[in-house]
Subunit: 493 residues, 2 copies
């Protein structure tokens, strides 16, 4: 339906983006925030046509799409607030000491946009992690032009969102190159975008294979650039003995919902549940199984994802020592994902890397450990994760400190007595984690700290006040928090 961009298209797109960067990176934080809020309004103005188109393209139910649209608008508005608040600028001012020997010069540092950012839309979040989603919002807040490659599974949704952004660019009188939208089903479009000399960073949400490929291309450039790929996470949940003694059934009910939420198509889906073999785990599995059997299969985002689930689920269930303990009581229709729970032993898990891989969909594997020592071993070999969860009483935590410690090291967000699904958009959120959860554990993709992925520090030495960017001027015209001679302050110098 949409034509792939040619190499010439990509080159002219990036050239426009580079020129636009010179302007966009200099406009005031207030104007940048206004632009982001205008996009939010333009998305609202797309009305229900947007929901209809996306529903058709993704099979996602209307209620979910309404929620996700609201979240996308909230992201744009809240990152606009954060943009204006300016703490992401990390302003440091060291004033001159001319009488010191040697004299200390005046040095002032702030973050500045890194340059044009290429964003690859996500299949599972057609709004919140696609065209006008979190990566785009944080790049705009940072002062970086954005080039979006539409996700081939929802190109029309992407077109509509792009229209909203283009309209905002126009109504805010920004250079056209601040935002570009291109299509590309072929491998070569992605590669050309990552390899273009004007591209300065990449945002991606998707598979491990896809993210790793972009990461490799980016690092093999003559000038390497950062790639923020959010990729693969199985979000382990550790069930501690004291907690399970009293709450096994309640925990099971909570997790039956979390595992099947959105047909399991969330990056925070709990794909691994680690418990101690015994009656309490048996109770947990029975309750979980009863719930899962009663949950009907749901239609997945697109045929490719459904097929991928079918293949990965079959492969996982075929592994030695893995038994299926529960499956939905309803037969799956075309492109539907069938809720499934499997079980294996800690020893099997420790030996078989296939069991560590993500099965993207409504699937979870229970690992039965014979001892708490085995549970600790499982925690210690765990790959990097977006989240890890402990279901535990305070006594459990105090008793098993090494386990708590080991779990903490593998994840970006450490949850107690709750579920990993449901990612709050707020400053304290960390949506990121050690590899392979992401390519760079030092940053996150949700909450306004995501802006920090697309900036670099720039220091000015010995410049007169009037020539400095406003955030560095003595009068602190925007009233932002700054570190002045090692002290935090939001007043003038």
């Amino acid at each position: 339906m949409y034509k792939d961009a040619s190499i010439q298209d990509i080159d002219s797109t990036l050239s426009k983006a580079w020129s636009a960067f010179q302007v966009f990176n200099k406009i005031s934080l207030k104007d940048r925030a206004h632009f982001m809020r205008t996009i939010a309004r333009e998305i609202e103005a797309l009305g229900d046509e947007l929901l209809m188109v996306t529903g058709r393209e993704t099979n996602l139910p209307e209620a979910r799409l309404r929620n996700e649209r609201a979240r996308t608008i909230f992201q744009l508005n809240s990152y606009a607030d954060a943009c204006e608040r300016g703490d992401w600028l990390e302003v440091r001012i060291d004033t001159a000491l001319p009488d010191r020997n040697p004299p200390k010069p005046d040095i002032r540092k702030m973050m500045t946009g890194i340059g044009p950012v290429v964003v690859f839309g996500a299949a599972n979040f057609p709004y919140a992690y696609s065209t006008a989603g979190g990566d785009t919002a944080s790049a705009f807040a940072a002062g970086c032009p954005v080039i979006v490659k539409a996700h081939p599974a929802h190109p029309q949704t992407s077109e509509l969102m792009a229209t909203a952004i283009h309209t905002a660019v126009k109504s805010c009188s920004l250079p056209e190159g601040v935002f570009s939208h291109i299509h590309g089903v072929s491998f070569e479009v992605g590669r050309a975008l990552v390899e273009h000399p004007h591209t300065r960073a990449v945002g991606f949400t998707g598979s491990l294979a896809g993210g790793k490929q972009l990461f490799d291309w980016a690092n093999q450039r003559s000038v390497p650039i950062p790639v923020f790929a959010e990729m693969s996470s199985i979000n382990p949940v550790f069930l501690l003995p004291q907690k399970m003694k009293t709450d096994a059934a309640a925990v099971a009910a909570m997790y039956a919902s979390s595992i099947t939420l959105g047909v399991g198509q969330f990056c925070t889906n709990p794909g691994l549940i680690i418990g101690l073999e015994g009656n309490d785990l048996q109770t947990f599995i029975e309750s979980l199984s009863a719930a899962i059997e009663g949950i009907a299969p749901g239609t997945m985002l697109h045929a490719g994802i459904a097929e991928n689930y079918r293949v990965k689920r079959t492969e996982a269930l075929a592994q030695s020592g893995v038994e299926m303990v529960a499956v939905s009581g309803t037969d799956a229709g075309e492109n539907q994902g069938v809720p499934t729970i499997a079980k294996t032993s800690a020893q099997q898990f420790l030996q078989n890397p296939v069991l560590h891989r993500e099965v993207f969909g409504p699937y979870s594997l229970v690992i039965a450990c014979n001892t708490m020592e085995e549970m600790l071993q499982v925690a210690r070999v765990m790959e990097g994760q977006l989240t890890a969860t402990m279901m535990a009483t305070e006594e459990d935590i105090v008793t098993h400190t090494s386990l708590t410690e080991a779990i903490m090291h593998c994840c970006g967000r450490f949850i107690l007595n709750s579920v990993p699904t449901g990612v709050e958009v707020c400053m304290a959120m960390q949506h990121g984690g050690p590899y392979p959860a992401t390519t760079d554990s030092r940053f996150g993709a949700v909450g306004a700290d995501a802006i920090k992925r697309f900036v670099r520090p720039l220091a000015f030495q010995n410049w007169p006040d009037g020539f400095l960017p406003p955030p560095l001027q003595n009068s602190n015209p925007m009233g932002i928090w700054r570190m002045v001679n090692d002290q935090f302050t939001n007043v003038i110098i």
Copy 2:
């Protein structure tokens, strides 16, 4: 003299470091700062023997070594202060809203150490960027154990410094694995250190070839890790016409000193001076030449660096359209670097990539532009730099905004009417820049923000106050600045 570490040594070193990380990452900021201050005192206690040994190993004069030792001690103490101040923790607290629909959970985020850090000592800073230098100090502040590979050009200095750190580890009752010191002349030692699964980050200061090699190894691991390599910078200086009309001779005097400071062996050495062809540039070159002719060659750090300078200088001077305009009037002795100024045209520079390469030593190339448009072209093709400098009046800046803009984009520190040599250790310093100046322009190596290279965000969701790390607890026991529900505050919640 010292034996290369074996693969077995490296494996046991990293295993010890990994165990030590579990403890060291948890100790209080106060204890961590105390440890760093103890190292500083132990370095002082090494007394003049240290200076003697280093003088012999590096040919650096005593006054310089005294200064560098003082700087190294200052770094340890000031990063210890920053460690305790805790703003690098970037604490974000979003308190729960149980009545919201859906309820908002309590989420609290802080930075935590990334894990064991391998530091490769620098040849040109035997104290400040080697064993107990800036990388080591910032990794310790972050809660990361450090493994130093001694620079083969000053192994005995490195041994003495390591002794000081080992003594501090002991007297602070920290696990032995918090610090390890190994030797390795062979390629394979460096590779094994970077590729070990327990290594979580790498700090390096040195050549482009060396840094790029570490970067590639790190990215090709099954779990890639960040490399902070500070590599190649020629620190361009742009001479603007108005400024040169009145100050050509004074600017020349300033730069004759900067180019030859420390036999040109600073990463901020000004290797490129860009001016507008004409009488003022002629005056500048004549004054600079007169000064350079009067500066005697100095002995370089070691034979390899001296030989490298000889080769690179010869190669640069042999390029088509390059003429030597000044050379020291004194003949060079063994391993000495001879102060040299060459000149070429903007067109030659634009065409010949060899002229963009660093000639590490007391060498600078003057580029004569026929027009300001040519100067802009030169600025626009400039590779990434640690610093860029403008010698300009306010009128120059106002007149040449595109030029100012272009220069700003290539560097980490933008200096006006001063010299790039002399790197102040303070919060506002940025010692880093776009590739190839460093492998990651988003971080810097000087000033306490260098701590941020070795941390990652970790969020805690739904944990009771008493189980949170102290920086996240309601009572704010350390009185640090935190962002609580989007507001900066240093009080309790």
